[in-house]
């Protein structure tokens, strides 16, 4: 058994999981193939990957909803199989496709789960009221769940997921299908939770969301963790290079793609040329000198680091 430092929220080693399928159940589809993952406490950790990569399977194992076939998983210092009952009191989850009993009203949903976590009387009423207020659900507290919009359902799910003030919160695609303004508010709420010291593990398809929120991310594909680190470290690790965006007159320069250190050149519809270079500090002065010497007018220059989305595309390829 691995020893778990108190600062670790998750310590997963060589986790494997496969699902049986087919009429006789003899076909096995591997979902996780030896995943190892360490997540410190108090951070927002992003689990990124394409559809079917194993994100939800891993999240479900970490949250005790699924049992792993092999490997050891300790969450908050507890084994997810043998100590699942004790662990469930200390974690919670909200998913991007929330669903609760259709006839229960907003306040009743939060109260139901509050009771399951041992709240009662004034403490329960206070907790329900404060969560409803925090997630701006007051005008809807007496509405049945099936009459709520997608955004409101998502907010109910978030309120429910905080009812036990969890040490570890799992968010599975928390802004899926939400309007942009609602997504911004949800992200602000999530960021505020980290300030309270809560550890958050989230899966998302939105790389900007991961970049904005996550202290640490892991890319998972076909059941394997391909990369793990801070967003900046991953960009360096993948060696995507930096982007020099140029607005030139004339707009096309044939030799640019063959210049030293230029990895690739793409032109967009707005007349920008994007040169991906291996080392921006070394290549930018040389390129600018060559362009000026060639009689090209440089109207605008922008330099930017690659976005997490590009790292994702590179890894998912």
């Amino acid at each position: 058994m691995s020893s778990l430092a108190p600062s670790l929220a998750i310590d997963a080693r060589d986790v494997e999981k496969s699902f049986r399928s087919g009429f006789t159940g003899t076909r096995r589809t591997p979902a996780l193939r030896g995943v190892s993952l360490v997540v410190p406490r108090g951070i927002i950790f992003g689990l990124l990957g394409p559809n079917g990569a194993g994100k939800t399977t891993l999240l479900s194992i970490l949250s005790t909803l699924l049992t792993p076939d092999r490997g050891s998983v300790r969450v908050l210092g507890l084994d997810v199989v043998r100590e699942a009952a004790a662990l469930r009191r200390r974690l919670n989850m909200a998913s991007g496709r929330p669903s609760f009993l259709w006839s229960l009203r907003v306040a009743e949903i939060v109260a139901f789960y509050g009771r399951l976590y041992g709240l009662s009387g004034r403490a329960l009423a206070h907790r329900v009221d404060s969560l409803i207020s925090e997630y701006e659900l007051e005008p809807y507290r007496r509405l049945p769940y099936n009459e709520l919009s997608t955004g409101l359902k998502q907010r109910v799910a978030l309120a429910k997921s905080l009812v036990n003030d969890p040490e570890l919160l799992f968010l599975d695609e928390p802004t899926l299908g939400l309007d942009p303004d609602v997504s911004v508010r949800v992200r602000a709420h999530v960021a505020a939770l980290r300030e309270r010291g809560m550890t958050i593990v989230l899966t998302t398809h939105y790389m900007r969301e991961a970049e904005e929120l996550c202290d640490d991310v892991a890319f998972i594909k076909a059941g394997r963790i391909l990369a793990h680190g801070t967003p900046d470290a991953l960009k360096r690790q993948i060696k995507l290079g930096s982007v020099i965006a140029l607005r030139l007159d004339p707009p096309a320069v044939p030799w640019l793609a063959d210049a030293d250190g230029v990895l690739r050149v793409t032109a967009d519809a707005d007349g920008w040329l994007e040169c991906v270079v291996d080392d921006v500090e070394k290549r930018l002065p040389v390129l600018l000198r060559q362009l000026v010497g060639d009689g090209v007018v440089i109207r605008n220059v922008q330099v930017r680091e690659p976005e997490l989305e590009e790292v994702f595309v590179e890894l998912a390829r």
Partner: protein
Amino acid sequence: MSWRGEALAVWAVVVRNAIMASRNVFFFFELLFWPIVGVVSIGFMTRFLALTPAQGSFVLIGTIALSVVNVCQLEVAYAVLMDVWSKSIKHQFLAPIGIRHLTLGSWLVGIVRGLLVFILVAALGGWAFGFRVLEPGLAAVAIFLLGCFVNAWIVGVFVCALITLFGNRAEAFAWASVNLVLMLAGIYYPVSVLPDSAAAIAKAIPLTYFLDAYRSHFGFATEFAAPITTGLVLSAFYAMAAHAAFWAAIQRARRTGLLLKMSE
């Protein structure tokens, strides 16, 4: 978990099921429509066949048992079914809740609903067909109802296990199972009229003994020695088996991912 925590978790399920029961029209159908239809149609049949009051009582006891067990058993099955329908089952099993809380909480609501059905059916049977349900005395009625409720819990928990094992495909069991059990337990007839193989199965069903004991108060010779004790012992055995089956089904659902599939 502390006793307070245990009680709170059970209470959470009681409140949830009670709210759902008060806001959904099909719960009223279970409570009013089917029991009334059952008693009225059986009552008229007893008149048409010119059964003696004792024979009429025999048949109406079966109808009462069917109505009470059915409504209580469905409530226990709703512990899982409602979450399957609403795709919220993963939230339930993510929370620190055991199957004892789920089944006990929903059973308590089932008992209340079963008692309402019993009162309604007994009153209607008495008013329309002269059936005196309290004639054997309160103790006999209480033991009969206890048998009905315990058997409802057993059937309901087995249904929960089947749903957790097979998903929505097993939903039909929720409605069909109790009818099968009552058919074998001698709903409208003594089990002695059943073929030998079916009679052997009937003897393994605890409700058979509670029906037999209650009918003995209406002048029918009991078919079994110590039927109440036998019924209670068998009930205890099946209650443990049902609990174990539900527990095993949940463990399997956590292994196969069915808990997640039922939430998608």
